[in-house]
Structures are given as structure tokens and as C-alpha cells.
């Protein structure tokens, strides 16, 4: 799959050129615009309406038919929403969890992916098969025991790992099978001669991995980081189950609570919703290439 091409999206329109004698153009633009343009407006509409509502007064949101253009732009809704719930705290919590999970996944998936790709060790095939088999099992099957394990860890090992602590969001997700599989597949495509030469020169396994293999795998690592980031940042069910106190909420959970309190204050809800999206949108547009590649090559969405 050519992810780069998906990104640049300028494939030659071969079929158009080839379909016999060119039809007479009855429009000053490509016919596909007739579908794509209105379609794009429909797709963008929910967000546009959210932005408009987020700068209206409360009274304006309680008007039927809706007021499409507010009398004045009320930016004040944003600081008001920001103060109505501890959004700063939610962002901090989510950032702590996401950064930890992404970093640990990069490390552990690289180590394991390399071992499965290049080192022949006892039990390798069996363990790898087992790993792959669990990809079939939906998360919901493990959710109740995982809750009990996390509860036990908090009660008996260290409170910070237990229920209602951020550790409970991090520890079960330190590595994941998908990442191991993805990196293993990539490592196997690298020329093994480079690694063998380094080994001859006396480099250790870890030395080879960190000095030769990983620098050659940066696009794959970025892809893994992008998926893990997206998935962790937007995760909802697991935080909902293990977190109780608002101080520990992630942004998704905080947003739901905020919605539960301000059910009909649509101007505040929309401002809060916009704020919650900003970090993800910034990261998305900055690293669009890796996000799109991660989807095109692995097919994951949170």
C-alpha cells in the first residue's frame, strides 16, 4: 500500500482519460465536485455547528429555530467552561497516561519484536502463536479479571497501581501484541547482514538493536507511537471502570462528567467539547502522515 500516495492524493486519473472519446463538458468543473463539495459540507457540519454554538449566549442556544449567526461572539464561554470543570487536571492526567503508555510501548514492543524477529530462543514459536491468538479475543472478555487484578495490585503491592489511580490505566497497557507483531514484521524486512557484521565486531544484541535496527525503523516506530497515542488518548471504557474520583479523570471521562452536569448548557458543552479536541487535532495535523499511515497499514481506530 502506498501511504505516501494516499497522503498526496494526486493519482493520475487514468480511467477518465481512457474512456473513449471525451464527453462534452457540460460543467466548468469536474463532475465529481457535484458530489464531493456538498458531501464535505455535510461532514464538516457537526463541527461547524459546534464552533458556532460554542460562542453563543445561553439564550441564543435556547431559541427555535436556532440562531445561525450569534449577535456577538462570546469568547467568554471558553474560560467559563474551563473553570466549570478541572479541565487542566484532565489534560494533565491524560498526558501522563498517554506519554507513559506510548514510551513503554515503544521500548517493550521493540525489545520483544526484535527477539521474535531475529533471535532463535526456546519456545519462541509457541509464545508467538499464543500472542497472535489473543488478538482475536475482545477486550471485554478480559475486562472483569483485569479490574480484579488491578484492585489486587493496589491493595497488596502499591496503591498507585490500584483502582482509582492513573497507574491502573498505564500498567495493563505497557505493551501490546499488535505493536510487537507490527515491529516484528518490519524488523524481518531489514537486511540481516548489517546486524551480523555488527555482531562480528563484538556488538551485543542490545547494541545491535539500538544502534542499527531502531534507527532504520523510525517510520515504523512513529506509526506505532501514533496508533498508541490515538488509542490511549481517546480510550473511554477502561478509565470509566477503574477511575472514581474526578481528580484522576482523563479528558474523555471528564468530558462525560461535564456533560452530565451541564446537560442543557449547550454553549458551555460545546466550548468544553472544542477544548477537549484541540490537543488531539494539533497532534493529528502535525503528524498526519503517521496517523494516515498507521491506519492504512494496520487498520486501527480507537
Amino acid at each position: 500500500m502506498s501511504e505516501q500516495a494516499v497522503l498526496e492524493a494526486a493519482p493520475p486519473a487514468v480511467v477518465d482519460r481512457m474512456a473513449g472519446p471525451r464527453r462534452r463538458r457540460w460543467l466548468p468543473f469536474d463532475r465529481w465536485h457535484l458530489f464531493l463539495f456538498p458531501f464535505a459540507l455535510v461532514m464538516l457540519f457537526p463541527m461547524t455547528w459546534m464552533l458556532v454554538s460554542s460562542v453563543e449566549r445561553l439564550a441564543e442556544t435556547r431559541h427555535f429555530p436556532p440562531i445561525l449567526i450569534p449577535e456577538s461572539i462570546r469568547w467568554q464561554n471558553y474560560p467559563n467552561a474551563w473553570r466549570a470543570a478541572p479541565f487542566a487536571r484532565f489534560f494533565l492526567n491524560t498526558t501522563i497516561v498517554t506519554v507513559s503508555v506510548v514510551a513503554s510501548n515503544l521500548v517493550f514492543c521493540s525489545l520483544a519484536g526484535y527477539a521474535f524477529a531475529r533471535i532463535r530462543f526456546f519456545g519462541r514459536e509457541l509464545v508467538f502463536l499464543l500472542l497472535m491468538a489473543t488478538l482475536m479475543v475482545p477486550f471485554q472478555v478480559t475486562i472483569i479479571p483485569t479490574f480484579l487484578i488491578v484492585k489486587w495490585l493496589g491493595d497488596h503491592l502499591y496503591p498507585g497501581l490500584g483502582v482509582d489511580h492513573l497507574g491502573a490505566l498505564i500498567v495493563p497497557n505497557l505493551s501490546n501484541v499488535f505493536g510487537i507483531f507490527m515491529l516484528r514484521q518490519f524488523f524481518r524486512t531489514l537486511p540481516v547482514e548489517l546486524e551480523e557484521a555488527a555482531r562480528m565486531d563484538g556488538a551485543s544484541r542490545l547494541g545491535v538493536l539500538f544502534k542499527i535496527v531502531l534507527p532504520l525503523s523510525l517510520p515504523s516506530l512513529a506509526t506505532l507511537a501514533a496508533i498508541t497515542f490515538l488509542w490511549t488518548w481517546n480510550d473511554f471504557l477502561w478509565p470509566l471502570i477503574v477511575l472514581n474520583s474526578q481528580d484522576n479523570y482523563t479528558i474523555q471521562l471528564g468530558l462525560v462528567t461535564f456533560q452530565g452536569i451541564h446537560t442543557t448548557a449547550w454553549h458551555l458543552l460545546m466550548a468544553g467539547n472544542v477544548m477537549s479536541m484541540v490537543p488531539m487535532l494539533v497532534v493529528f495535523f502535525a503528524a498526519q502522515k503517521y496517523f494516515i499511515r498507521s491506519v492504512a497499514t494496520t487498520g486501527l481506530k480507537g
Binding site: 455547528w49 533471535i119 467539547n273 481506530k301
Partner: protein, 291 residues
């Protein structure tokens, strides 16, 4: 084989393998045990009751309704997403002005969480002040209850999830479309095939693997629907949007019936497995992979 190979291999793999054992294999096995127990999630009191949880599920009309709702949702969401995504991808697979706008409109949905999507659609479809009802009134249609109406709620969930997944479907199809060798399309044109015939007989079959992947992947995710339900309807009105995972969540984490929840999870697992196997089986007959 060197002994040091075994040591090195296990040393590198063990952190991930240990994590995997503790948070994957062990819970999968424990979940089976739980499903045969009357187990209180909070107190930990457990009693072996054999198949009684599974029997209770088959007799619970709400669970049966949850299965029905989940299947109904999946049967609507998957074909709609695939057909719309394919159409959009085909439309976008050419040089066009305004492409930046189109790409943004479609791909931005990838970065938006299920919760944010649900809040936006809750506002759009708000029965009293919502803009969709205003639009309906404008064209002379009666206002709808949407998420408050038992006959409509699930369809609003379908709409918001189709919106949310569209970027994903389009990327997969665009990548597949761009992987089609140009020579094939040229050969079809030289043989006198028109546009539609080329699409029908050359492009569409070549998109088979991508379509099979999408159908399987979207189905697996659809059967696990939860976030949007939790935010918008809480399974209501009148259980019209109670889906399997929502049922499981309430039983296990609100009523603390860990055993019943685990049994529901295994029913879901077996259901997903069966449906996936059927899809691959059908796919093998329909989809042709180019060698």
C-alpha cells in the same frame, strides 16, 4: 544453538511476555472460571454455579434484546460505512481542486473521539432546539424525537458512528485503489470497456481484499459498541439501544455480578468468532486475491 541465544531471546521478550501473561492469558482463563460462578465483584464472594449464568442470560429478555439491538446496529452500520466509504474514496481518487478541503472533511474524523462525536450529535439532534429538527421543519416535515424516541435512537447512533468511521474506511479504500496497477485499467479501456464496466469488472474485484478486511474489522468493532450508547442514551429509551457491551458493563460494574458479566463477555466473544469465521468463509468464495 547457543545457550546465550535462549537467554538473550527471553531477556528481550520477557517484559512483554510477562505483561501479556498477566493482563491477557490469565484474565482470559479467569473469565471462563468467573462465568461459572456467582461472583460478587466488590466482596469477592464466589460460589460455583455451573452453567446457571448462561441459562440466566438466555432467559433475560433484556439480554436477548441487547443481542438483537447489537445485530441490528451492526447490520446497518457496516454496509452503510462500506458503501459510502467506497463511493467517497472513488470520488477522491483523482486530481481535483479543493482536494485539501475534501481530505480535511473526511480525515478529521480520525482524530475525534467517540465521546466528542456523541456530544456533537446529541446537540445536532436535540429534540427541542436542535438544528436538524429546524431543518426538517423548514422542508415541511414534523420534528423528530431522535435519541429520545425508541424507534429512532439506534438509527441516530448508526449515523454518528458512520460519520466517525468514514475517514478510516476512505483511507483503506484509497490505499487499495492506488495499489491497482494502471496497466489493468488501461487494458480494460483498450478492450473497449466503458467507465462503469471497468469499475464493475476490474476495479471492484481488485478491491475485494480491502472490502473483506473492512467488513470484518467494522463488524468486530460494531459488535463492541459502547461509548456512544453510554454518553447519549444509557441503553434507553425502553432498552431500544441496550447493546451487549452496555448490558455487560451494567451487570458487572453497577450490579457487581461479575459472573454474569463474564458469561455475557464470552457470549460476545463466541459471537464475534462465529461471525468472523463466516465472513472469511464467504470471503474466500467471493474475493479473489491477485497472486
Amino acid at each position: 544453538m547457543l545457550r546465550s541465544e535462549h537467554t538473550a531471546g527471553w531477556a528481550l521478550a520477557s517484559p512483554a511476555v510477562v505483561m501479556f501473561g498477566v493482563f491477557s492469558i490469565f484474565p482470559i482463563v479467569w473469565s471462563i472460571v468467573l462465568s461459572f460462578q456467582d461472583n460478587n465483584l466488590l466482596t469477592g464472594q464466589a460460589e460455583w454455579i455451573g452453567l446457571k449464568n448462561y441459562q440466566a442470560l438466555t432467559k433475560d429478555p433484556i439480554f436477548l434484546k441487547a443481542i438483537g439491538n447489537t445485530l441490528k446496529y451492526t447490520a446497518a452500520f457496516v454496509p452503510l460505512s462500506v458503501v459510502l466509504g467506497l463511493f467517497v474514496a472513488v470520488a477522491m481518487n483523482r486530481k481535483l481542486r479543493l482536494m485539501a478541503l475534501y481530505r480535511t472533511a473526511v480525515f478529521i474524523t480520525l482524530a475525534i473521539s467517540t465521546i466528542s462525536t456523541a456530544i456533537m450529535f446529541l446537540w445536532l439532534t436535540e429534540p427541542t432546539y436542535g438544528i436538524v429538527n429546524a431543518g426538517l421543519e423548514k422542508v415541511g416535515l414534523p420534528p423528530q424525537g431522535f435519541l429520545a424516541d425508541p424507534n429512532e435512537a439506534l438509527w441516530v447512533i448508526v449515523a454518528m458512528t458512520v460519520w466517525g468511521w468514514l475517514g478510516f474506511v476512505v483511507i483503506i479504500y484509497l490505499a487499495a485503489l492506488q495499489g491497482i496497477p494502471q496497466e489493468l485499467l488501461e487494458a480494460a479501456a483498450i478492450d473497449g470497456a466503458g467507465r462503469w464496466s471497468t469499475f464493475r469488472n476490474v476495479t471492484l474485484p481488485l478491491l475485494g481484499p480491502a472490502t473483506l478486511f473492512l467488513v470484518v474489522w467494522l463488524t468486530i468493532n460494531a459488535l463492541q459498541l459502547f461509548d456512544e450508547i453510554y454518553l447519549t442514551t444509557h441503553g434507553g429509551p425502553l432498552y431500544s439501544t441496550t447493546v451487549i457491551v452496555y448490558y455487560l458493563f451494567i451487570k458487572a460494574f453497577h450490579h457487581f455480578q461479575a459472573g454474569l458479566g463474564a458469561a455475557a463477555a464470552y457470549v460476545l466473544f463466541v459471537g464475534i468468532l462465529l461471525i468472523t469465521i463466516i465472513q472469511f468463509w464467504v470471503g474466500k468464495r467471493v474475493v479473489h486475491y491477485s497472486s
